[in-house]
């Protein structure tokens, strides 16, 4: 089991190398995809899980679809439609880099509990405030969602029907109430923190840092990718 900071650093470094690879080196991306699939197999994350979780990048990719039509420059005729060559390259560039990057992060998230990732971020010296905010988000997501669900039940129990747009007013009022309730909860949490001697900085728990061999193992992936990337530039 790799220490979380090694995993996070390895994954981020790999993504950076992928992004730095020239888009024309198609073969390089084949190798990157192979590396991700290999890693997924080693981590026993099924390809189906990987693909399903990749759905998260769909909204970002929608915009890519337009590029070959909208970009200028030289055009090529594909099935009777004139497509911009520059636009095609740009779309490919975004598509492949986003997919490899997202797949890497999906792998990281599927093999590491979120709390452990936060621990890793803290040990990577990310500003404690940012780690704390991320931690609070994880901690209170369920609380706020269940509050939202209770409000929905409350609305529907009193005959609210969300099908008609002119009824959106109740929905926006609920959103406002939810915001205020969450804000008030934030104040109560702060109170509870003060009561336990909080003075403005989150305590750092004894770091159980990753060993040299763990760092070396985590470096294999970005190092291999770096070799591919350098080769592609040459």
């Amino acid at each position: 089991m790799l220490a979380p900071e090694c995993k996070v650093a390895g994954a981020v470094a790999f993504v950076l190398v992928v992004v730095a690879t020239p888009r024309e080196a198609l073969w390089a991306y084949g190798i990157y995809a192979g590396l991700v699939v290999l890693l997924a197999t080693m981590a026993r994350v099924g390809v189906r899980t990987l693909v399903r979780r990749l759905v998260i990048e769909t909204p970002f990719l929608l915009f890519v679809v337009g590029l070959p039509f909208l970009a200028g420059g030289e055009r090529v005729d594909v099935a009777g439609v004139g497509l911009s060559i520059e636009g095609l390259w740009a779309a490919w560039n975004i598509l492949v880099k986003a997919t490899v990057g997202a797949a890497t992060m999906v792998l990281l998230a599927s093999t590491t509990p979120i709390t452990t990732i936060l621990e890793g971020l803290q040990r990577l010296k990310l500003p404690p405030v940012m780690v704390a905010i991320a931690g609070f988000m994880v901690r209170y997501f369920d609380v706020i969602v269940s509050e939202m669900r209770r409000m929905k039940i409350g609305r529907e129990s009193r005959g609210y029907d969300a099908r008609w747009w002119w009824r959106a007013k109740a929905l926006s009022a609920s959103a406002g109430t939810l915001f205020i309730r969450s804000y008030e909860r934030g104040e109560r949490v702060h109170l509870a923190m003060l009561s336990r001697a909080y003075t403005g900085s989150m305590p750092e728990f004894s770091p159980r840092a990753g060993s040299l061999s763990q760092w070396a193992a985590a470096a294999t992936l970005p190092a291999t990718a770096l070799a591919v990337c350098v080769w592609a530039w040459l």
């Binding site: 979120i114 709390t115 901690r139 923190m193 003075t199």
Partner: protein, 248 residues
């Protein structure tokens, strides 16, 4: 020396609402005191004065002889452990272990001692096996017990509980009583649950509209029908205080 001493405490909120009108209160070490009274009596306002979260009004609060004032806040907050009503407000860290460690870590405890303190506190409330779980995956009763562990880890002198039995199922309520019974601490318990007060606290203080209206043995107070009615205190249907032993 008193474990807790409150003298002439008065407080108004910034919006002008006066919540406390000159309270005097003395709790001895090892005493278990129930703080009773209707909603809006000022009980929570009083509680928030005990560790200096609220302040700035008239009067003085001393914890084990130490005045609650800015330079002493850290020590005061170590000595006074407050368990809030909603455990979701109190458990804000990603794991139970990190949450219990939060208080002592703020006090400068670290390393092996911190680990030891955390596990000891969790064992006291019977939650040691849940150390690495996220708090939101626990049941309400379990979360409340972890909330108690988070303050026990700070090695306090006084445990202050705000409505400890609220929202618990009967078994959870009984389990919590067993945990509280086993603690060797001065205790102040804000509650509407009169049978709970009778079971766990030998002394009761009644508050109403910002003043203390009664102070004495729990059984005596709960037997005073006129006092009970005047302060909106009621037993659950069918409960007869004479049929139970109570704490003396």
């Amino acid at each position: 020396m008193s474990a807790l001493e409150v003298g002439g405490l008065a407080f108004a909120y910034p919006d002008g609402h006066q919540a406390l009108f000159g309270l005097d209160l003395d709790i001895h070490p090892g005493e278990r005191v129930a703080l009773l009274g209707p909603n809006g009596a000022g009980k929570t306002t009083l509680v928030l004065h005990l560790n200096g979260v609220l302040g700035g009004g008239a009067g003085v609060v001393r914890v084990g002889g130490l005045e609650v004032a800015k330079p002493n806040l850290k020590e005061v907050r170590r000595r006074v452990a407050i368990v809030f009503q909603d455990p979701d407000d109190q458990l804000f860290m990603p794991t139970v272990r990190a949450d219990v460690a939060f208080g002592p870590a703020n006090l400068g405890v670290s390393g092996a001692e911190l680990v030891e303190r955390v596990m000891e506190a969790l064992e006291t409330v019977g939650m040691a096996e849940y150390a690495d779980r996220p708090p939101h995956h626990l049941s309400f009763g379990q979360r409340r017990r972890v909330a108690i562990a988070t303050v026990l880890a700070m090695d306090p002198q006084i445990l202050v509980l705000d409505e400890p039995s609220s929202n618990l199922d009967p078994a959870g309520r009984r389990e919590l009583a067993a945990v509280l019974e086993g603690l060797d601490l001065t205790m102040l318990m804000v509650t509407h649950d009169l049978p709970y007060a009778l079971e766990l606290c030998e002394r009761s203080i009644v508050m109403n509209e910002g003043v203390i209206t009664a102070d004495g043995p729990t059984r005596t107070i709960l037997a005073d029908e006129e006092l009970m009615r005047a302060n909106r205190l009621e037993f659950p249907y069918g409960f007869k205080p004479d049929y139970v032993a109570g704490r003396t």
